[in-house]
Amino acid sequence: MGRRRNLPIVALAMAVIAVQLLTAAAGKPQYLTQLTMAGYYSLVIVGLTLLMGYTGQISLGHAGFFAIGGYTSGLLTTYNLHPLIGQIPVSILQACGLLVSGKDLYGADLLVVRPWAACVVALLVTIGIAYLVGKPVLKLKGHYLAMATLGFGTIVYKVVLGSSLVGAADGISDIPAFPLFAGLVVTGKSALRAQNYYVAWGLVLGAMALLTNLIRSRVGRALRAIHGAEDAANAMGVDTGRYKLQMFVLSAALAALGGVFLTHYNGGIGPSEASVMKSVRYVAIVAVGGMANLWGALFMGVLLNFLSLRGSFGSYDDAVFGLILLAIMLFAPDGLLRAEFARRLPGLRRGQKAAP
């Protein structure tokens, strides 16, 4: 029984492998760079799809969560604790093996937080902030919700832009690679390009597996019910406030995960990752993917980010996303891919039926 359920995930895994082989065969392994980056952005997008498309809660601040993740990990892995050696908190961290020492560019001693620990802290920080922000914000609806999330996103942007601790407008540079396990390292070194592609897409696969399970489950049904008629869902016993909040936090955590990994992959992060335009782009991709269509959003996310990161839109990058938003919302508010797929692949969208 589990086999049919997992078919889309298996197909995605095969597609991931096929793309790598194809790029290698076509002599264009460099494409994997942008595909890797697009993969990390996809984590934001699939989370946002569940929040917006399934649960019906708009967020114009998800770039903020991405940035919080990336910046936290970036700051922790570059902030030099060496001058503080001997102080008790630093000693404790050292004793726990959470710190790692090295040399900086100028050859000076460097003592920073281990990437693993930084990653965990980044996720926890994001989850905490998402919880604190989400709790009051998700009580709002419509324009008020849009405005509040936009406000949150703007605050994150202004804070990273105004804080010299995180490099203000320059952002953080020289962020070290992130050794995962078994020799896997998240780094932008071209020699490890294919490996990093698989790390990114492994994460995406994992996220997709979890999320497709989620949308087919009791929780997924409750989320769609909240989207359709919040009061009725509440009357059927769905704790709508809690479900919305959990979904918000989950999507924020996914965004932060993408942020952490991309930051280590890129070796740096700048305020542009937190900008409101970035958040709007994520919304545009979810919309063009079909709002409540996880696969559509994933596909459009990879496609558009891939093209954008390759500079295919030139100076019209933002304009392209603006026009996409307009066109989709005017002519196909349910998304480009949705109508098509709904007809052909009822099993994908209505998980209920696909499960025997």
Binding site: L210, R216, A222, N234, M236
Partner: protein, 254 residues
């Protein structure tokens, strides 16, 4: 033994006293009807009982627990279910999925277990589906299972909404104008259905304008006018109640 007891409930909207010091009880296993002219405060009373609105004062006791101040989902978990005056089905979901949402309080898979797709959550999913189908069979609409709920015929939507409430396996079922918009044949079928539901042991509290339905199936009738209770008695006694005739039946000629 009363399943629901309402004591001195009050609710004011700005200058309007929507519910004014209303007290009553619903006996376990009975059908109680709530009638009154438009704007009498019937739906407000429902919302107060269900937790969708907070009362200004007064108490609601359900199944031995004081539930005023609870959120609707807490009330639902305690064993109360409702339908809405204007049908509130979930769009873009099949009829079966709509009814399956009603099983929410009787299932427990959360975010983590669902995401991991643990085997027990799948078993639970199958059980939910079976139960939803069983309810559709009970209502005689199992052929509608895969249709998109909001594109069904109006009468069918009413049935599906009723099924969704039944899926909660409630002790008390609140029906807000279950026959509104139905034709005469559908109305009498609805009446039979409500009686059948009561016979399975579910207590029913309903708001309804159709007096034939009310008088045929109710064990007791409560009459509201301008937020105040003016009568609470057996149907036959209500029909003869002078106050009721004056404020309600008199002008409605029902």
């Amino acid at each position: 033994m009363s399943l629901l007891v309402v004591k001195d409930l009050c609710k004011r909207f700005g200058g309007l006293q929507a519910v004014d010091n209303v007290s009553f009880a619903v006996a376990s296993g009975s059908i109680k009807a709530l009638i009154g002219p438009n704007g009498a405060g019937k739906t407000t009373l429902f919302n107060l009982i269900f937790g969708a609105l907070l009362p200004d004062s007064g108490q609601v006791w359900f199944d031995g627990k004081q539930t005023d101040g609870w959120k609707p989902h807490q009330v639902a978990a305690a064993g109360m279910a409702r339908t809405f005056q204007h049908i509130r089905l979930f769009p873009k979901m099949s009829a079966l999925d709509n009814i399956a949402v009603g099983r929410h309080v009787h299932s427990r898979a959360g975010f983590l277990a669902s995401m991991l797709g643990l085997p027990w959550t799948r078993r639970e999913q199958r059980a939910v589906r079976e139960k939803a189908l069983e309810i559709m069979r009970f209502l005689g609409v199992e052929e509608l299972a895969d249709g998109e709920a909001t594109s069904l015929a109006y009468g069918q939507q009413r049935i599906v909404e009723l099924g969704r409430a039944l899926a909660c396996e409630p002790k008390l079922l609140l029906l807000d104008e279950p026959a509104a918009g139905l034709n005469m044949r559908e109305t009498s079928e609805m009446a039979k259905l409500i009686a059948r539901i009561r016979d399975t042991g579910v207590t029913v509290l309903l708001v309804e304008h159709d007096m034939t339905l009310v008088m045929n199936i109710s064990d007791e009738v409560l009459v509201l006018s301008y937020g105040e209770k003016i009568a609470d008695d057996k149907p036959l006694a209500i029909q003869k109640h002078p106050e009721v005739i004056k404020v309600y039946l008199g002008e409605d000629d029902a």
